[in-house]
Amino acid sequence: MIDIVLLVLKIGILVLLYLFIWQVVKTAVATVSAPAGTAAPDVALPEGSRPVAVFTPAERDARREDRLTERTVAGEKLDFTGHIDPRLIVEQSPIVPVGVVFSLNGWVTVGRASSSDVVLDEHFVSSTHARFVPRGSFYYVEDLGSTNGTFVNEKRVSGEAQLKLDSRVRIGETVFRYEE
């Protein structure tokens, strides 16, 4: 009698073991596709709050220029700057959106430190990496002893390099185009 029970148990355990395995696979595969289709519910904004206006870089440029230029009494634009509006435009970057414009005014420091004028929080940027310095009517970029270097048109800057129109400045993985 007991031997029959033991035989039944032996077979039963094996059957149950494989049933368990089969059911886990079956249930898991069946539930895999289900949650992927259901999107996360949209976050409801509290009433009265409006999203902040977002400008394209071109719009922002236009607004800024508008603010900076002086006008005659008749409202015509007067341009005293001689078109010198040095600025850096982000061409490619893992962190800064492409097209963002940094206008250069006096000394501008770039680095990972939050005290920099242009903060680039990425791995290959040193905390104080480089600075842009006006000298006469030209802008220069100075490498401040960074680990991974500053590149102007893919040439590593030793000390400093003068920027010309459309020079590409690469710091870490971010590339800026210089315009004036």
């Binding site: 033991l6 148990l9 032996k10 073991l17 494989y18 049933l19 368990f20 898991a28 519910p41």
Partner: protein, 440 residues
């Protein structure tokens, strides 16, 4: 069916299986079936039911299969230990309770595994400290220095160090993966990243080499080195680390085989056990005979030839390192293959969690834990079946050993936390949704 109900259902199957196995062992020994054997099953199910309740309330969206898989493995292990040495089964049962307690504690204290990322260096220090402590204070058992005796317990710190090191590596590599994946210079034509990012990883290599030489334990050294290489590869996707790591470990192993007599013995026995059949090869050969003796369907729980008349097991260390041998004997080829499939299920769930995880740290953590679990299983199963050199390492959840079951239950707790957070991020929180529905 909700995740937690699926979990409960599978726990019931695991519980039924454990009760049947226990009844079988009991009936095999005492030729009778009584209430004790059924109560045993209920107590076992009860422990896991409490864990299930905790998960239901704290991590409701966690993976539903991990806990039942764990329960099934623990059930098979506990039953087989009871079969081999009933007094040890009681101790193991107590360890299971301790492990369940630590499982609860881990979940309640940590709650969100992302917190652990902030403690990564502390985890690294804990992991290293445990290993160094083992090298310094450990006692040698079976030729390997893996144990620390303290307060009347013997603890195997490497099991816990495994968790700490995976947490550290996941945090560290997630932070530094960009640097590590871009080579800045070449050594002998091999592109390498800057030394300062590479340094801590060399420390890991030296550590595993030290483990090999001072702890004389090939298995643990292989486990730690592989965890580290696998995580490096997963973080950077650069195969050069696998090649380098494999090469370095092979070199270390070659040195160890040449220098450390214990490792040399194990290696020689693995290549050809027959000349040492009565000495160093005895254990391995007995294991092979015992596995073969099980046949296709096995002898049945409690009915295999595992003990001599004087109650000595036919294979030394049957309840710890060689538990798989005992299971293969009593459950046969089918049962042993089924057991391996259950381990595969566990790894599948672990990697699934890693693939779905929304951030780098979670991915590396889950993948690292699943990998460590799977590799440990492979090392010991390979060892007892003579696929790779035999090393004393526990079969997770099944082998007799408090440190092992405790640490692995904590591993499950971590995986559950990662999977809960993943599902909350992917599908929104069930709790939040229910609250919104109640509000109308």
């Amino acid at each position: 069916m909700s995740r937690r109900n699926i979990e409960l259902l599978f726990l019931v199957i695991a519980g039924a299986l454990s009760t049947m196995a226990y009844v079988s062992v009991y009936a095999g020994r005492f030729r009778e079936i009584n209430r004790v054997s059924i109560i045993y099953g209920l107590v076992f199910v009860g422990i896991f039911f409490l864990l299930h309740l905790l998960v239901r309330f704290v991590l409701p969206q966690a993976d539903p299969f991990l806990l039942p898989i764990t329960a099934l493995l623990a059930a098979i292990g506990l039953t087989e230990i009871f079969r081999i040495r009933p007094s040890l089964a009681l101790t193991q049962g107590q360890w299971l309770l301790v492990g369940a307690g630590l499982f609860v504690l881990t979940i309640l204290v940590v709650r969100d595994h992302m917190k652990l990322d902030r403690y990564r260096y502390i985890m690294g220090v804990i992991g290293l400290g445990l290993l160094v402590a083992t090298i310094a204070l450990g006692t040698t058992v079976n030729g390997s220095k893996l144990w620390i005796h303290a307060f009347g317990f013997s603890i195997q710190p490497s099991e816990f160090a495994k968790l700490a090191i995976v947490i550290f590596l996941a945090g560290y590599l997630n932070d530094k993966k960009v640097m590590l994946s871009v080579p800045t210079h070449h050594v002998l034509g091999v592109p390498l990243p800057a030394a300062k990012y590479f340094g801590p990883l060399l420390v890991m290599w030296v550590l595993s080499l030290a483990m090999l030489i001072f702890m004389k334990d090939f298995g643990m050294a292989l486990l730690f080195m592989s965890i580290f290489v696998a995580l490096m590869y997963m973080a950077t996707t650069r195969i050069v680390y696998v090649v380098l790591g494999g090469g370095l470990f092979a070199a270390a192993a070659a040195i160890a085989v040449a220098v450390v007599p214990h490792v040399q013995d194990r290696f020689g026995t693995w290549l050809d056990p027959w000349p040492h059949a009565t000495t160093t090869g005895y254990q391995l050969l007995q294991s092979l005979f015992t596995i073969a003796d099980g046949g296709i369907l096995g002898a049945g729980f409690g009915r295999g030839f595992l003990l001599y008349a004087n109650h000595q097991p036919v294979v030394p260390d049957l309840q710890t390192d060689f538990i798989f041998t005992a299971i293969a004997n009593e459950m046969g080829l089918l049962g042993a293959a089924g057991l391996i499939l259950v381990y595969v299920l566990f790894m599948w769930r672990g990697f699934r969690i890693a693939v779905w995880a929304p951030d780098g740290f979670s991915k590396l953590l889950a993948a690292g834990l699943a990998f460590a679990f799977g590799l440990q299983t492979f090392i010991i199963l390979g060892g007892v079946t003579r696929l790779i050199p035999l090393t004393g390492i526990t079969l997770p959840f099944v082998s007799y050993g408090g440190s092992s079951i405790t640490a692995n239950l904590m591993l499950v707790a971590l995986l559950l936390m990662v999977s809960h957070r993943t599902n909350v991020v992917r599908e929104g929180s069930d709790l939040e949704r229910r609250r919104l529905a109640e509000r109308g």
